[in-house]
Amino acid sequence: MALQPDALMPSHRVPPDIAPWLLIAALAAGAFFVMASPSTWLTLTIAGLAMGLMLFIIASGLTLVFGLMDVLNFGHGVFIATGAFVATTVLGPAGFGAPGSWLLAPEPALQILAVLAAMVLAMVLTGALGFLFERVIVRPVYGQHLKQILITMGGMIVVEELIKSIWGAQAIALPLPECLRGVYLLGDAAIERFRLFAVLIGLGVLLALSQLLSRTKIGLLVRAGVQDREMVESLGYPVRRLFVAVFVAGSALAGLGGALWGLYQQTITAQIGAQVNVLIFIVIIMGGLGSVTGSLLAALLVGLMANYTGFLAPKIALFSNIGLMVAVLSWRPQGLRALASSR
């Protein structure tokens, strides 16, 4: 990897890497000219951004887990599914969806509060599940890629079946509260309220995560660990414990993303995790394994691409994302933001 400051050379500033951002802008601009309908374009772009930010919330934990300990968790999808199903219970008739409870109250504030409570509970439970998953499934196979892929895949099947045994195999409806239904009209463009809500939550997570990673000591250690784990270990920091924390946090974020995704889809099946997993893998490969910024860029690209092609040519929507990944990888084989530590 180039750009290592050399002690004998005068240091120079590395220009910021804006090419991937330009790619996103180019994609949006291209879609604008193809569609030739500003209002449709605006609707789809907001939808794409919302989807992209949801994907980012889910993918950020996975990519950090890989960067820090070289662990590729194929079972990340179970946290998505668990988060979504916990949300159905919290917002269902046994929880806040009961007659007279918050979700059905006339005040929008209470409705939002119910949704937020569902998200927090989803995060807490998936975080706990993540802790267990790390202990039981991932820990015994550190450093063995082949077994990791097989075992985490097996773990995903087991948890998916457990979800089916608790919540049933049928699709479950996840109702949105009154105040998040419907659209805002901006000129001719209809913008779904929930998508704006998802964008807000996504930006909040993005802000919190970037502050945590760039301003705190833990964030510094995580970033350093991703760059060079052995060096951080030899300086006396417990990378293993840090990794467990990152794994739990990543699982909780996936649970949050799952709850959002479930509200976005409005119906949930146990396979939701596996479906989103495919998009997440595209995101983290495209972003560069281990890079949080890269996964943000890639998630936005995938979200926009999925919505544009879903409108223009629905049959090839999933292939368009694979095509996008192929194109990006032939441009930057290590992903949009490569990490020096790639072993």
Partner: protein, 371 residues
Amino acid sequence: MRKLAFLSNDPPKSRLLAALLAAVVAALALAPLLFPGAKALAVAAKILVFVLLVASYDLLLGYTGIVSFAHTMFFGIGAYGIAIACTVLGPSWSAIGLGLMAALTTSALLALLIGLLSLRVRAIFFAMVTLAVASATQTLASQLSAWTGGEDGLNFRVPIELSAGYRWLETPLPGLGFSVPADGRLLAYWGLFAVVSASFLILLRVVNSPFGRVLQAIRENAFRAEAIGFRTTLYRTQAVVIAALFATLAGALLALWLRYNGPDTSLSFELMLDILLMVVIGGMGTMYGAWLGSALFLLAQNYLQTALASLGQPLADLVGLLVGSDANRILVGVLSWSVELLSPQRWLLWLGILFVLSVYYFPSGIVGRLR
């Protein structure tokens, strides 16, 4: 030891294993004469198809150390190749030949493309890329319903020589306490057996060739293999293409045997899981594991599922009794949950647990244990 050239000088090495293998192969070869009934023959034919599928996957997983989730995609391409050709062109041998050729070409090109693109960067990408491509293909297959019949799949007819109405001997063959009519189904079964056995021996030859040694070197230490001077990407891609071709052949055989193909029979993700489990149970990197793994797994799947159901029945009865009475509600809840866990619909749960446990404790599988 005597040289065993037809086994590529890679014999089972243990008496017990050799005896087991011989028993399985003999039972499969003589299955129509040993076991009466259509179900037994259907299970035996499925075992044969999966022997080929699992052996070709073992070339990837066991010998090269690559995890692919697109093996069912190639399997499905083979099955759809035959199904579409026989539907469009009618039941003739030339249609089968054309369909097989088209399927093999498609698979080879696709495998080459996926391999070159994802193995170039990091081998671990391959697992993720294949997962994405396979799920996209699955969606595509059900959407292109004009060609593939969508979710319903395709029912088609096969050449007369392979159908039940054809007699190649006037007198029925003597079975074990029953007689078997010498019809085209029997011919189809033995044809299947012959193709699978021959393909297996070819695969055994491949893994024991110098090429196969390089694959194993890559599995053990890719960096070192590269340093010695082998172009690992090229070798890995070749392994992917060979495995894809044999998977396609297996898919074609399945379609010919069933005279039907749909997304659930040849493309579903659960099938992929079954293959993984068979490879792990049989033993990764052994080839012979394919026979034992498929036989054991499919027998369990077809005959043990009913046992699981009968295990859950007394519990279900108990819950039925308790629900009416004023028993502890938590107890009833826990009991009815365990009924749910034991029901045949949750078969995949036990499969998953079995899979995780066997990867932990028996990574070398039955064959590895016995050797």
